[in-house]
Amino acid sequence: MQGNDHSIVRAVLAGDKEAYGALVRAHSAAAFRVAFRITGNEADAEEIVQEAFLRAYQRLEKFEQRSAFGTWVYRIAVNCALSRMGRPEIEAEYRHGEETDAETKTVQLAAQDADPERVLLGREASAAQEMAMQRLTATEKCAFVLRHLEERSMGEIAEALGVAPNAAKQAVFRAVQKLRRELAPLRGNA
């Protein structure tokens, strides 16, 4: 796959624009998944995927053939998501969107679950987690998503965020500590 990706990259750089389509098809799902997990918003995630592939195309000459294209574009997507979350107006919009999404999601859960008490608990837990995640900084949330949900190594996280490995580690630590503190009352109830 990696070798194939590299030959596609060479073809694109040689003027075959259409060849880039194969790379987009192969790696857009992974880029969407991480973008959605970071932003929590479907529309934002889709925009991030397009932005990431556009940036990757524009910087294709700088792409080092020793790394995998998928990893490279994944990192670009993380960066796009991070910079999008860092923008105050987007952040406000994203938070507002998240609240709506959380509401929608709990409604969906309610329809699937017949036990009203469980529905209520699930709704409360989900909302609390959403709130706790929103209180993290953009870097903390990114680092946590990459470590906890995407199961990336500290080295990969550091590279994706453009920080030193120790800084990435500290961001994950801070995120975990904050989340546990925020969710402690819920655990007590449960």
Binding site: V12, L13, A14, G15, D16, K17, Y20, G21, V24, R25, A26, S28, A29, F32, R33, F36, R37, G40, E42, V49, Q50, F53, L54, Y57, L60, E61, D101, K105, A125, S126, Q129, E130, V145, R147, H148, L149, M154, V172, F173, V176, Q177, L179, R180, L183, A184, R187
Partner: protein
């Protein structure tokens, strides 16, 4: 042993814990219970379901992206497109050209140079810049001399400091004036040599008197006709370098 900190628990949870922490967890019930609680709390944090993308999602992204992409130009002229032997050939050609240019230049230099050039370096090509340097130096000397004579003609001779200043300047000019006079004689330039000779007399009178008084300066001014010498210096200064019959500064004065 010290119990596990929260940071160590986080490291353990994500599989980055140290061997020591792992061993401690096996023997310390308190830490094991604490870690179990910790694990449960983190396990509970799950991602909300990522909306499923269909198999044609990649196509959808590509179709949206495609119009925005400008094709890369084929690298036919860039360095990257060159194979190693092409680069080597180009480098060898450049080297050959540079060598040919260097050798050609050296040969041309030898052919255009006359026998005198090699022996003494007195050809016209070398003489011109040297001449310019000499003329500048001589003009500078005459300028300074002119200022000194003007100062002498208009000085307040009762002012001791002014006299001392004149004497210092005269001493400095005297040595160089001698050299110019000798050179002018050698070059067969009687006008310049004569003027410099008369000037030397004035400079020597002023420079060598240990008790220069106002009366002495007045005597020099009158006896040696400094006004006349000043006139001569000004005439010399106005002559063009290649003027015929002049001090022939175009030839220059060897110093």
């Amino acid at each position: 042993m010290k119990h596990l900190s929260e940071e160590e628990q986080i490291e353990m949870y994500y599989g980055d814990g140290s061997e020591e922490a792992r061993k401690h967890l096996k023997v310390c019930q308190e830490c094991a219970a604490e870690f179990a609680k910790f694990k449960r709390s983190l396990d509970a944090i799950k991602s909300e379901d990522v909306p499923q993308r269909g198999p044609d999602y990649g196509d959808f992204v590509w179709q949206a992206l495609r119009p925005q992409l400008i094709p890369y130009e084929k690298k036919t002229t860039g360095w990257h497109g060159w194979s190693w032997w092409k680069l080597a050939t180009a480098a060898a050609a450049c080297l050959a050209l540079m060598t040919a240019a260097f050798i050609g230049g050296r040969l041309w230099e030898h052919r255009s140079a006359g026998p005198n050039d090699v022996a003494g370096g007195t050809n016209a090509g070398n003489a011109q810049p040297q001449q310019r340097v000499v003329l500048v130096v001589l003009t500078d000397h005459l300028d300074r001399t002119e200022r000194l004579l003007v100062q002498l003609n208009h000085a307040d001779l009762r002012d001791r400091s002014e006299s001392a200043q004149l004497q210092t300047e005269a001493r400095e000019l005297l040595a160089s004036n001698r050299l110019y006079r000798v050179s002018a004689n050698k070059e067969g330039d009687p006008a310049l040599a004569g003027a410099l000779d008369r000037l030397e007399g004035v400079l020597a009178e002023i420079a060598n008197d240990p008790h220069l008084t106002a009366a002495d300066l007045e005597r020099v001014r009158k006896d040696m006709n400094t006004s006349g010498i000043l006139f001569e210096v000004r005439v010399l200064l106005t002559r063009k370098p290649n003027e015929e019959g002049g001090p022939k500064p175009a030839k220059g004065v060897s110093i």
